[in-house]
């Protein structure tokens, strides 16, 4: 397989074979999010790859949160120090638009599914940008302390009901997702949410709904805060990334339960920064071919409860590598969990994010 991979990438880039000089030691810098997520990438793809290619060593830079501004700065300075960058879909679209990420031809550069389905079909709609190679589907959703609440919440709108569900709530300190949940719970149909939010009245309506719980909210800015707040009993319910809740519940045995109603889906994946020199690019593409194939994406789900982005990986999702529990029911994409979901509207937020964020900050200060 290795040889085939090499030949394919070579063909794709029209490189002369000697340029690949198999044994030259090469050091690559990959950018990711740190924590459990980066660990799942190391275990599922990076370690197996380095075992197959002892000349390649990988350094991890935990800068994904600032990837866009850092890549812009590198571009301005003309000094690219990253070889492969893990970003959320919205950032991939921004980088692609600005020419900072390389355009990917999925069918020639990525592995087909085991049954021969081309990569572009296997990833399907999740390839939201021509520069983006999706790895996982994650969601922002709620966890709650069933033992501290008399009645268990069953829907997302229960966070706005402080009578039945008294106690503090943890919400992210930014408008994204909070505004949508507020409008959904104020009776706006899901497909009209962004149309309503585009008007001044709609924004006022969302803030009015959030006003009803403002005094009960603890605002978080790092994904790790909510599991900690829940574990300490500081809040009774809180939003965060579903993988964080999984690790608090299953790996650390915290008495937290999941509330999947109206979870907000988002995608995370790779982009290749534009302007890599040929030798590095060849190795990066070889790694990508390997790391985004069906089996590798399914392997990643052994370490973290994020859904693999390939359709062909879903049936291969097995059990947790250490705990031995079935991972499928913990996936945001599991049918039982995905009854009410919405996909974060990248395009809309790209235009209105700054404006709404300023209004959101002003609202917080009132």
């Amino acid at each position: 397989m290795k040889l085939k991979t090499m030949l394919l990438t070579t063909a794709a880039f029209g490189l002369a074979a000697p340029a690949l000089a198999q044994d030259d030691p090469i050091e690559l810098t990959f950018v990711s999010w740190g924590g459990a997520y980066q660990n799942s990438q190391i275990k599922a793809y990076a370690e197996p790859y380095m075992e197959m290619n002892p000349n390649v060593s990988i350094i991890w830079d935990e800068s994904s949160a600032d990837a866009v501004t850092k890549l812009r700065a590198m571009d301005e300075a003309g000094n690219l120090t990253w070889d492969l960058v893990d970003v959320v879909a919205a950032d991939a679209m921004r980088l692609c638009d600005e020419g900072l990420a390389m355009v990917i031809d999925a069918d020639t550069m990525l592995a087909p599914a085991p049954d021969g389905t081309p990569a572009s079909e296997d990833f399907g709609d999740l390839m939201v940008s021509e520069c983006f190679i999706p790895q996982i589907v994650y969601s922002t959703t709620f966890g709650y302390r069933g033992d501290l609440l008399e009645t268990a919440p069953t829907q997302v709108c229960d966070i706005f009901d402080t009578e039945t569900f008294p106690g503090r709530r943890a919400l992210e300190k930014r408008p994204i997702a909070n505004m949508e949940w507020a409008l959904i719970c104020d009776g706006v149909p899901i497909d009209e949410v962004y149309d309503v939010l585009e008007t001044e009245d709609g924004v006022a309506r969302a803030f009015a709904k959030l006003d009803t719980i403002k005094d009960d909210v603890v605002w978080w800015s790092a994904g790790a805060e909510t599991p900690q707040l829940l574990a300490d009993g500081e809040v009774v319910i809180g939003s965060t990334y579903n993988g964080r809740l999984f690790s608090a519940i299953e790996e650390q045995g915290q008495p937290i339960e999941m509330l999947w109603d109206w979870q907000m889906f988002d995608l995370d994946g790779w982009i290749v920064p534009a302007g890599l020199d040929e030798d590095r690019l060849a190795v990066v593409m070889d790694f990508l071919y390997f790391a985004t194939d069906t089996q590798r994406l399914a392997d990643q789900a052994k370490y973290i409860s994020y859904g693999p982005a390939r359709a062909s990986s879903a049936p291969l999702v097995g059990q947790h590598a250490e705990l031995g529990i079935d991972m499928a029911p913990h996936m945001p994409t599991d049918p039982a969990n995905a009854q009410n979901t919405f996909l974060f509207n990248y395009d809309w937020w790209a235009s209105y994010r700054d404006d709404l964020d300023a209004q959101f900050q002003a609202w917080l200060l009132q």
Binding site: E234, D347, S351, D354
Partner: protein
């Protein structure tokens, strides 16, 4: 001695006039001094003055619009927003040509992003239009007006064209206007509604919380420094280590420890409930608000107050106070009239150090500030790192720099910078 030697200039041993020789040796000395400070000078220039200069420049620079849309900006000269109509066909044709060139360079989204800071929604029409416009034939496919409006109806909105026209110049005051919570309306610049003035509120809060924190470090640090300066050396060294110990601990660790202590289910609240001070369901709110920020930052910045105070107090001779007492002053008078004035240089140094550090603080307000304890630095971080609006971040930073310089000047008038001693 010959006559010549008496009438002519005084000569040195090598026969040159002494004046010249002296000047030469002085010049050599000067050069040596310059060479010695050169590394520091270059370092300060490269790592301090240049970044500040570049930041000042960024806050007014607006090349992206005239560079990316040169034809459109020129064509818009003749259009008047007051007409209430979108501009005519020549402007749309110019925009088509500009966008084609920009799409090649991949700069069409950057200019959209720049204009989006002024009018939300503009970035999406630029992003959407790049690809379709790149396929048009400029010579054949006109008129372009309706074709643009087909791509997105907002191309027919005079507001979009007003934004391009208003921000078409090489330099802009737009970032400063945004930094002071202003906006440019058709009637001219004005401030936003009072409840939307985020930056002003944050700036004000940053200044008064920093001043309050400075006062707290003074109130807590002064007695400690006095004690350290007036007890046996061995005990003083032990105390000094105790002051420095938290100083050597990571900032994050100290901030997080305050979280554990102060939170609702935390150590202090648990204790208060246990001794019956508060009811279990009515615990103190001590974190994720201003109180938490003040407590955590006072603790973190305390050494910066104690150390200058201590170094000044060490030099105050105890004989003055003794003399005052022997002349009949009460212990308060001898402290207030004799000891305290001598310690003022230490207070001056500690206060300016703590205040300036506090004004620029970022991590602690972010972690324990909640909604009402964040500082302007958190907003600058957001503009720089999340929103990518470097111009606004630079304008806010420059504004902050100006405010601190003004405060420093006022401080100099009141306390006197010469009257300050760092050790």
């Amino acid at each position: 001695m010959t006559d010549a030697a008496i009438d002519g200039p005084v000569l040195s041993a090598d026969g040159r006039p002494l004046k010249q020789s002296l000047r030469r040796s002085l010049r050599r000395q000067q050069w040596r001094a310059i060479l010695l400070i050169a590394p520091l000078f270059v370092f300060v220039l490269v790592s301090f003055l240049m970044p500040i200069g570049s930041m000042l420049f960024r806050s007014v620079e607006n090349d992206i619009v005239p560079d990316t849309l040169p034809l459109t900006v020129a064509a818009l000269q003749d259009w008047d927003y007051a007409s209430g109509e979108p501009p005519g066909e020549p402007v749309y044709a110019a925009m088509a040509a500009d966008l084609q060139a920009a799409f090649e360079e991949k700069t069409h989204t950057q200019v959209g992003r720049r204009l989006n800071y002024e009018t939300p929604g503009v970035s999406s029409i630029f992003r959407k239009s790049g690809r379709p416009v790149s396929r048009w034939d400029l010579a054949e496919d006109g008129p372009f007006r309706d074709r643009f409006i087909d791509i997105d109806a907002d191309w027919g909105d005079p507001e979009v064209w007003r934004t391009i026209k208003s921000y078409g110049g090489r330099y802009t005051t737009g970032y400063y206007l945004a930094a002071i919570d202003g906006e440019l309306t058709p009637e001219g610049p004005r401030l936003k509604e009072p409840d939307q003035r985020v930056n002003q509120k944050l700036l004000w809060r940053t200044l008064w919380l920093s001043a309050f924190i400075t006062f707290c470090t003074f109130a807590l640090g002064y007695p400690v420094a006095w004690l350290m300066a007036n007890i046996r050396e061995r005990t003083a060294n032990l105390l000094l280590i105790l002051v420095l110990l938290p100083f050597w601990t990571s900032l994050l660790v100290r901030t997080s420890s305050w979280k554990i202590l102060l939170q609702e289910q935390g150590v202090i609240n648990d204790f208060a409930v246990w001794i019956g001070l508060v009811a279990d369901d009515n615990r103190f709110q001590m974190i994720n608000n201003q109180f938490g920020v003040v407590v955590a930052m006072t603790h973190i910045l305390l050494p910066f107050m104690i150390l200058p105070l201590y170094s000044v107090m060490k030099t105050i001779s105890p004989t003055y106070v003794r003399a005052a007492r022997s002349l009949g002053a009460t212990s308060w008078t001898s402290f207030w009239r004799v000891y305290f004035p001598q310690s003022v240089p230490g207070i001056g140094a500690g206060a300016i150090l703590v205040f300036i550090l506090a004004v620029g603080y970022f991590i602690t307000p972010e972690l324990v500030g909640g909604a009402d304890g964040t500082f302007i630095s958190n907003r600058i971080y957001y503009q720089f790192s999340v929103s990518g609006n470097w111009g606004l971040a630079a304008a806010l930073g420059t504004m902050m720099l100006a405010v601190v310089l003004v405060l420093f000047w006022v401080y100099d008038k009141i306390v006197g910078v010469d009257n300050m001693k760092l050790g």
